[in-house]
């Protein structure tokens, strides 16, 4: 089995494809997923899902989250099939204690980690062939009640920086910090169960750089690279193990 990044396995016709390469960096590759309504894409995506995933689709109460799950999960399957050189039928997922999907081929774990995030019409899928990875995306739009959250989710230096900003720069910085922290928490597999106020984005990022190294022995023994991968439409971050030990935990 190869873990290289190779072409397209023809699971979906090229003109229908709703995912494209977005960022490559070290051991990771991030794909951007278009989540706007499209019946042709949704039908092609449905064909890639297994029975449990189709049941999950049926449980969603509204079309938008159903479409987000459907198009992201199918794109995740397609890029994993290419990266792992396997058939879609061989690919299944198990879930870590708090629900992070872990890919299996023929029922076995593989040397590939993945993570997914969606917000509005934007989705991201991140793959890493060397250690755990987490990704988070948020649409860049104003939201209600964010000010009330600052105390709960940010550390002292993050709060001090936000206190000097207003308007769009405040929102952009809030979303950069939030997506950075959520990408880390998703890389660890903890999601919201991590108290976000007990750690901060790396010092380089507090100084305005787009990437930095996260070390916090109180929370994790590994060293993590955090990258701001946002653009005009979306705030986003990816976190991955810089130097995973043998095996890398899930």
């Amino acid at each position: 089995m190869t873990t290289g990044w190779r072409g397209h396995r023809g699971l979906v016709e090229d003109e229908l494809r709703w995912w494209s390469s977005y960022r490559s960096s070290g051991p990771i590759k991030v794909f951007r997923i278009a989540l706007t309504p499209d019946s042709g894409r949704e039908a092609a995506a449905w064909n890639l899902l297994d029975t449990a995933e189709r049941q999950r689709c049926r449980r969603f109460l509204y079309p938008a989250p159903r479409r987000q799950f459907l198009l992201c999960r199918a794109a995740l399957r397609a890029v994993l099939c290419v990266a792992l050189d396997c058939d879609n039928g061989e690919l299944t997922f198990e879930f870590s204690r708090y629900g992070k999907p872990i890919p299996l081929v023929g029922g076995d774990r593989v040397p590939m980690h993945c993570n997914v995030s969606h917000s509005g019409s934007h989705g991201l899928v991140a793959l890493s062939h060397r250690g755990r990875v987490g990704v988070d995306v948020e649409e860049r739009r104003p939201r209600k009640n964010l000010e009330e959250l600052v105390e709960t989710v940010f550390g002292p230096q993050e709060r001090a920086l936000l206190a000097r900003l207003e308007g769009q720069s405040w929102l952009d910085t809030f979303l950069a910090f939030w997506t950075g922290k959520e990408a880390l928490a998703k890389a660890w597999g903890m999601g919201l169960r991590t108290d976000f106020s007990t750690f901060q984005v790396p010092p380089e990022m507090l100084r305005g750089e787009r990437t930095g190294l996260f070390r916090c022995p109180r929370i994790t023994n590994a060293t993590w690279r955090l990258e701001d991968i946002g653009c005009d439409e979306l705030a986003a971050a990816v976190a991955y193990e810089e130097d995973p030990g043998p095996g890398g935990e899930f």
């Binding site: 109460l61 989250p65 939201r143 964010l146 919201l192 106020s197």
Partner: protein, 81 residues
């Protein structure tokens, strides 16, 4: 309907963005937040607002253990008790 439930329903209508929810449709308190498509950022912001309105504190860990608006009502009632 408990008074907590009534207040939360009003706060949901005003503050919680649920993409695609038909306007005016009463909220099913037991529906899972994930199945309704509520994102973690929107939910934590909403839970914080509600906690402030009710004069209680809510941690991130507590937010992560709440899976529906009904569970949020129970959480607040338990804190007030």
């Amino acid at each position: 309907m408990s008074s907590t439930e009534e207040r939360i329903r009003a706060l949901v209508d005003e503050n919680l963005e649920i993409e695609g929810r038909p306007p005016g449709r009463p909220l099913d308190l037991d529906s899972s937040l994930r199945d309704s498509g509520v994102s973690s950022l929107d939910f934590v912001a909403f839970a914080k607002l509600v906690a402030q309105e009710f004069g209680v504190d809510v941690s991130m860990e507590e937010c992560a253990s709440i899976n529906s608006v009904g569970e949020l009502v129970e959480f607040l009632d338990a804190k007030a008790a």
